[in-house]
């Protein structure tokens, strides 16, 4: 009988899935606003995008508050040691049935590659996306105040971040299938628990 370990705390799971929903909606509506797809209609997409954007902004403030007050920020400190081992696993080891080199625990959730990726996404990409989004939304007011004249550069950065986030999401979704079983990681993000013998982080 294996021992279940609580890896993802309740609030952590809440913000993960909340963010997942919002980001998915933002991506779809954003692509429609950008003229790439047709979905709700431009007006509705604009409306959804703005609401979802503001809720996401608020959620991200909560996330950062949580991360910094609980000391969870330590999970994101880059750890260069072992990066090559993880990369070797994804590019080779996984095909010959090797075990994942990283052992997951509540204190050390992420493998070195995850640490880097999540640091970039959560601490750079998402804040940049939200800040450019807010400037975008308040552009008429900012222009009237004489603070900014053109929105082109902000728009380009916002689009760049959006594409990066979409690419990240694709890889992120694929990597959850790399648990011991296909559904292991998904189950962990739902229940918060990984059973001890499954806690090798694939």
């Amino acid at each position: 009988m294996s021992k279940a370990v609580m890896i993802f705390k309740r609030f952590e799971r809440f913000w993960h899935w909340g963010q997942a929903t919002l980001v998915l909606l933002l991506m779809l509506t954003g692509l429609e606003l950008h003229g790439s797809i047709k979905l709700f209609g431009f007006g509705e997409s604009s409306n959804f995008h703005h609401w979802a954007g503001f809720i996401w902004s608020a959620l991200v403030v909560l996330i950062f508050t949580w991360i910094f007050t609980t000391g969870e920020w330590k999970q994101f400190v880059p750890n260069k040691n072992g990066l090559d081992v993880v990369l070797r696993f994804y590019l080779y080891g996984v095909f010959i049935g090797e075990e994942h080199p990283h052992h997951m625990s509540a204190e050390n959730k992420f493998n070195p590659l995850q640490r880097l990726a999540y640091l970039g996404v959560l601490f750079v990409l998402i804040p940049l996306q939200i800040i450019t989004g807010l400037i975008f939304f308040f552009f008429p007011e900012l222009r009237a105040a004489g603070l900014i004249e053109q929105i082109g550069l902000i728009a380009v950065v916002h689009t760049f971040c959006a594409y990066t986030l979409i690419a990240f999401l694709l890889v992120h979704l694929y990597l959850i299938t790399l648990g011991r079983k296909l559904s292991s990681h998904l189950r962990a993000m739902l229940s918060g628990k990984e059973s001890d013998d499954e806690s090798n982080n694939y």
Binding site: L33, G35, G43, G97, A144, F160, Y163, A167, L170, T177
Partner: protein, 539 residues
Amino acid sequence: MNKSIALLVLLINCSSLSLASTAEPEPSLNQSVTSIVSTADHSSFEALNQEFDYAPDVTEACLECHTEAAKQVHKTFHWTWSKKVDGIEVGKAKNGFNNYCVSAKGNESCTQCHAGYGWRNEDFDLEAEENVDCLVCHDTTATYKKSAATSGHPYYEDKIIGGKLQKAVDLQYVATHVGKPARENCLACHANGGGGNGVKHGDTDLSLIAPEYELDVHMSPEKLDFSCQDCHSASEHKISGRYNDRKAFLDHQLNMGRASRQGNNVSCESCHSATPHNKRHIDIHTAKVACTSCHIPEMARGPYLTKLSWDWSTAGQTKDGKPFVEDKIFDGVEQHAYMSKKGTFTWGRNVTPEYHWYKGELKQMTLLDTIDPSQSPIDINPPTGSYSDPEARIWPFKVHKGKQPYDTELKRILPIKLYGRAGTGAFWTELNWEKALIAGAKLNNLEFSGSYNFIETNGYWPIKHMVAPANESLSCVACHSKNSRLNGLTDFYLVGRDSNRFVECFGALAIWGGLVGVVLHALMRIFTLRRRKSNNREH
């Protein structure tokens, strides 16, 4: 008790009102026109109750009481057709030209619209008070018509013009039935400018006399029933609107009410304010987009066509030695496609406008300006402004495409003598370009080298009438899409239309590359897993 009496009074009032309305007689052709407007019954005035055989005599009678009226009219653009802009006199009557009959001088049929009598040549007295035509604006009988042949005088005798009987005017009847100008008075000239109904503007034609609600929400008798003056407010005969020396509106004073505009300016914001939607996502547009851009989705939205192009270079052809006219169907309406006297035309209805930055003023080119023929088409009255100009906003325009004669040596647009007797050089009589251009230049006191050709010209007409109901205004994607209506305006980033090539390439690479990588990785996993499984079975 008091309340019930009040109610009773109210009820009686209402019923008497409804009675009055049902008792109103059916309008008929012979219906007498009331002569009582404002506080005066003009039919009771002795000065007007006499036989007139000459229209300026009526003006003299008017001026007996309205002593300042002619002096006021003399100061207005309606009268001078000329304004000093940057030191140069411009306007219909001076140096100005357009894409239609080019210049007014040398073209007496143009002066039929001038609010004065007998402007046929240089000798016209702009100072004479009796030359002011009061009746053309103040006639309420619809029997007063100006004749093309007599430079602004009405028909004094019955005449057949173009197969139609033009009845002689009864000046006494008209003079005793004057009143406030109605739409018919304004539109007689403003809808027919350029040679016929709807020719010039694209948003001003005779359908505005009684438009359906769908055609014009302000002027339709079904709802608001605005007169022209409700927006084009006037004082001392000075009517608000765009003239050569003044703007139609002051854009940096968006919320100014109509009263504080001193009769100089007229704009939607005068009544609606600059942010009338109470929805932020729409109201934020108004700093850069004019109301008209969304609320007038097409031009010539009524039953009539508007002229979109006029090519003078083909004029003068004959069939069996005779001038001819060819008609075609344009958007379901038959119109002239070719006239020997005028050249080749195209027309349109429900036409998508062009969009340009505009501050309420147009830069009018004159007959004295040098043109660069290599820069054809020449913008003869372009709107100015750009994204970074806080006074400019995006406006819908009818851009009328012209092709008109110019002096290839002196590089100037050439006026044409169009109207006149044989021997005067008039093009419409002789169909001879050389003679008509020599005569036209002479009439306008311009040099002419003798060599000419034709050049393409653009005439700009801001669209501001025929406001559609709100639910028919433009949808977001009309502008926020790849084939945006604003594709001609490239000096700003427009969501849904614009993107950065490098970011798009990066995005495609990151997303499709990521997808391909993931799929390959997954396939590889499946493949190696199967091989390992079969290996295990063999062992």
